[in-house]
């Protein structure tokens, strides 16, 4: 009698009940699968942008395949909230902090050490510079990269659709 009662509790009142409701218990499972998919496929934004960067436009674009092999060098004017402290001249941001050209060497060595031996030669430096930055600072960065031996470079840009 007891056993029957518990079953009843789960399946609703016995006969006379119409078509059973569609169980929505599996819906969250579907969502979780999607969630795990996203967790695997994407990468957490490793650094908050402290400089303003509007990418220039280009057509000869190549995708940087493996995110793990890319180190980012941001160049731009500091964001509003940092302007008081850091001024409004373009600056370099590496990972999460404002840095100078001379800090590039250490930064890239640190990034390299995170990779496996055979991957180190494949590392690319992604220069994410704002389009209004002048070539002075960019050339300094490039010269420093050449001195360090980081020759694989990618200038981040957005695709351009119209003609010049």
């Amino acid at each position: 009698m007891e056993f029957k009662l518990t079953i009843m509790a789960k399946f609703g009142r016995g006969k006379g009940r119409g078509t059973p409701k569609i169980s929505t218990a599996s819906l969250p499972d579907i969502i979780f699968i999607l969630l795990f998919f996203f967790m695997v496929v994407t990468v957490m934004k490793d650094s908050e942008l402290k400089v303003e960067v509007n990418y220039p436009y280009a057509t000869e674009l190549q995708k940087l395949e493996k995110k793990s092999l890319v180190s980012y060098i941001y160049i731009g004017v500091p964001a509003q909230r940092f302007r008081k402290k850091y001024g409004s001249a373009p600056r370099i941001q590496l990972n999460d902090s404002f840095k100078e050209v001379k800090d590039l060497k250490l930064f890239l060595e640190q990034e390299k050490s995170k990779l496996r031996e055979q991957e180190r030669g494949l590392m690319t430096a992604s220069i994410r510079a704002d389009k209004d930055v002048t070539m002075g600072i960019v050339t300094d960065v490039k010269t420093e990269l050449r001195k360090i031996g980081q020759l694989k470079v990618n200038y981040s840009s957005k695709p351009r659709t119209d003609d010049l």
């Binding site: 518990t6 969250p28 209004d132 470079v153 990618n154 200038y155």
Partner: protein
């Protein structure tokens, strides 16, 4: 002991929680499409580069000043015309004496000013790279009937051996104002 009915968990709200988590994830992560112009920088050497006897006709000088104006081989030019002009120089289909002897010998020399905007630099560099890419596509079409991207690595190498991408960047001048 009174029998308690096991409470039914409403599975519907589980889905809401899962949706929230998903949206959180979508917002905080980036499938940041990382695209850009790939460049291989020349290795650094403290010594000055060896003096090479370059034939003037094989050198295509591109200058960009602090006003983002383009000067190609001494003549002002609009960025829109750069691609065609560069292709014409390298391929030299009409065998002009003041243009490259062969595509193999063509050298593009690019010089900016420290005050040139990055936007202008990328615009120019893009056009130069595009000129080469179009020449490679044409050659790939003639030799293999496909576009350059569709070729095998070895085939690409052979093509590039005939039409090497040589863009030599000089130290920028400092006439303009740096920001």
């Amino acid at each position: 002991m009174a029998r308690r009915e096991s409470p039914e968990v409403n599975a519907g709200s589980m889905a809401d929680i899962a949706f929230l988590l998903l949206i959180f994830f979508l917002v905080t992560t980036t499938i940041d499409v990382d695209k850009g112009i790939t460049v291989k920088l020349p290795p650094w050497s403290d010594e000055p580069p060896p003096e090479m006897k370059l034939n003037e006709r094989n050198v295509y000088s591109v200058l960009v000043n602090a006003n983002d104006e383009l000067l190609v081989r001494g003549q002002p030019m609009r960025p829109g015309d750069l691609r065609e002009n560069t292709k014409n120089f390298i391929a030299n289909p009409r065998k002009m004496p003041n243009m490259a002897e062969t595509p193999k010998k063509a050298i593009i020399s690019l010089k900016n000013d420290r005050g040139t905007s990055y936007e202008a630099y990328i615009r120019v560099y893009n056009e130069l790279k595009a000129a080469y890419r179009e020449l490679w596509d044409d050659a790939a079409d003639v030799q293999y009937g496909r576009t350059y991207d569709e070729l095998e690595l070895e085939e690409k190498r052979t093509l590039r051996a005939d039409i090497p991408l040589v863009i030599s960047e000089a130290e920028p001048t400092s006439f303009g104002e740096e920001k």
